[in-house]
């Protein structure tokens, strides 16, 4: 909707607006602001000014008496972290950025996959069958209020200092939004769609696979996006304590040795990875739910 109006506005040459047409949205500033470039500029105002103020208020590369490094120092720290030579005793982080990003991303991916493989079928069962709801739903509801951070000691005791600890926490954290949203989706399948499938000879499994699952898909994707966000939270928390690698480990380690420049570069890296993985899900969603957008084309 807004997309088409942007295109229309951008497609009309500003100077050729019909005389006397002073309708809303056709003035020159409005046209500029509604173009893609204009939107980007609007979005950049706040972060750019914050970074500028942060940079300008620092002296000798830091603020608050050396606590907070200025942006240029953060960028420099990230550069060494990412592209510096490895194995130099002076800077333990040099050249290890990519490896740590891969460690964390891998764990999120593994835990997230487990959460999908367990959460989607469980949600379909709870939402579709009364028995499923009676068997599974109470347990899910009792366990859900326990924050994943509270599971950390348990996870450490069971899996030890290892990647499994992290994967367990990620899977658990992502499981709840996935199972709950899938349940909602499966519960609200249009009755006549199920009846139509029965009328055409579909069996119980066909109904689940070809009617309930696709009908629940929009809700499932909502759960996936929330779950992935929680997955990134879980990986950082568990790497800070239960694992000796990854972005979370570096974050905590850098804090201990007073490398706030690395801490901030690490935070930005986490944010970027979270954003990229969310975009990936959106891309898959757009592909999987293209039938929904078909009418708008």
């Amino acid at each position: 909707m807004s997309d088409t109006s942007v295109k229309q506005a951008a497609g009309r040459p500003a100077g050729l607006a019909a005389p006397g047409s002073r309708a809303l949205g056709s003035t020159l500033p409005a046209i500029i602001l509604s173009s893609n470039l204009g939107q980007l500029l609007l979005a950049l105002i706040l972060p750019v000014s914050v970074i500028a103020i942060w940079q300008l208020s620092g002296t000798n590369g830091s603020l608050f008496g050396g606590v907070l490094p200025t942006p240029d120092r953060v960028v420099a720290a990230w550069w060494t972290w990412a592209f510096g030579a490895t194995g130099m005793g002076l800077n333990p982080y040099s050249g290890t950025w990519l490896a740590n990003v891969v460690f964390s991303t891998q764990r999120v991916a593994q835990g997230f996959l487990v959460a999908i493989l367990v959460g989607v079928p469980a949600g379909i069962w709870i939402g579709w069958s009364r028995l499923g709801a009676q068997v599974l739903d109470p347990t899910v509801q009792i366990l859900r209020p326990i924050p994943i951070t509270a599971w950390l000691p348990f996870s450490l005791a069971v899996f030890g200092i290892s990647g499994f600890s992290a994967i367990f926490l990620i899977a658990l954290g992502a499981f709840y939004p996935i199972v709950i949203n899938t349940t909602q989706g499966a519960r609200h399948v249009e009755r006549n769609l199920v009846r139509a499938a029965l009328m055409m000879g579909a069996g119980r499994f066909d109904i689940l696979r070809r009617v309930v699952l696709p009908a629940a898909l929009p809700a499932i994707f909502t759960g996936l996006r929330i779950g992935l966000g929680i997955g990134w939270t879980a990986v950082i928390v568990s790497e800070m304590i239960a694992v000796k690698s990854g972005l979370g480990y570096v974050l905590w380690d850098a804090y201990y040795v007073g490398r706030m420049d690395v801490v901030i570069a690490d935070m930005v890296s986490i944010g970027v990875m979270g954003l990229l993985s969310d975009q990936l899900i959106l891309l898959v969603e757009r592909w999987a739910l293209s039938w929904r957008l078909a009418g708008a084309r």
Binding site: M200, R210, G295
Partner: protein, 259 residues
């Protein structure tokens, strides 16, 4: 083609206060008959159709198709729903071949027929479209094609054109007449539109409101093939007057029993 016999069929919904939706309905439909169930909205005519489809069970009485008890829903009774109820995530073609695929029919055996049925309803060019890209009338044509593909013994139609605008509705009625005159399938057609009932059906069953009962059965002797031009003939108007009188008295009866 199928013969349908209902004997003393009743339906009660057990809620806080039990609701009797159908009361001792007797109905015999011969093979190849086109029967319209005509009644006010919410009178229970859809309940009757759901029992025929197997979506709901009768509380009392017997519902038979070709002498056997009506069981679970199945491809022998093709249902056309009011809102088409197409699968929005499947293309028109995938919707039409859904039935044969579910029944394990080999592709070679259904493809030609599916193509033929799409052509019959005039949607050959839209085989690759999604339901969201179609108009209401087109969606309903897909709903009809996907049922005809299965060669059902009976067609059960639940106000299939009720949600369409007047012009589309007339076009759909003519389409249904053409298709039916070619296939001669048994049809049970639920509607609250008197014109539609007379135009399409060989027999109109006027239903009373809550609990629904079949008041009177009026055979429509208009010659076939019919078209929407029949809507303005004196004979048509005579049927309409008769049915309206019947509906009015049924309404009065319902009011007096309710009071």
């Amino acid at each position: 083609m199928a013969e349908i016999n209902l004997r003393q069929v009743s339906k009660t919904y057990f809620a806080a206060t039990p609701v009797r939706a159908l009361d001792s309905v007797d109905l015999d439909i011969a093979e190849g008959d086109f029967v319209a169930l005509l009644g006010p909205s919410g009178c229970g005519k859809s309940t009757l159709l759901n029992i025929l489809a197997g979506f709901e069970d009768a509380s009392e009485g017997s519902a038979l198709i070709d002498g056997g008890a009506i069981g679970k829903p199945g491809p022998d009774r093709g249902v056309v729903f009011q809102e088409a109820a197409l699968f929005p995530w499947l293309t028109v073609w995938e919707n039409v071949v859904f039935g044969p695929k579910m029944q394990g029919v080999p592709r070679a055996d259904y493809e030609d027929r599916a193509r033929e049925m799409l052509a019959t309803v005039g949607l050959t060019d839209f085989a690759g479209s999604y339901p969201a890209q179609l108009s209401g009338g087109m969606r309903q044509r897909v709903g009809i094609a996907r049922v005809l593909v299965m060669r059902p013994r009976a067609l059960l139609m639940d106000e299939p054109f009720g949600a369409l605008d007047a012009q589309t509705r007339m076009a759909m009625q003519e389409l249904l007449l053409t298709v039916w005159e070619k296939l001669n399938t048994t049809v049970v057609f639920v509607t609250h539109d008197i014109d539609e009932a007379i135009l399409l059906a060989g027999r109109v069953c006027v239903m009373t409101a809550r609990p629904a009962r079949i008041g009177r059965e009026i055979p429509i002797a208009l010659p076939r093939p019919r078209s929407i031009d029949d809507l303005t003939t004196p004979e048509f108007t005579r049927y309409k007057a008769e049915i309206m009188a019947e509906m009015r008295s049924a309404h009065r009866q319902a009011e007096s029993t309710a009071a």
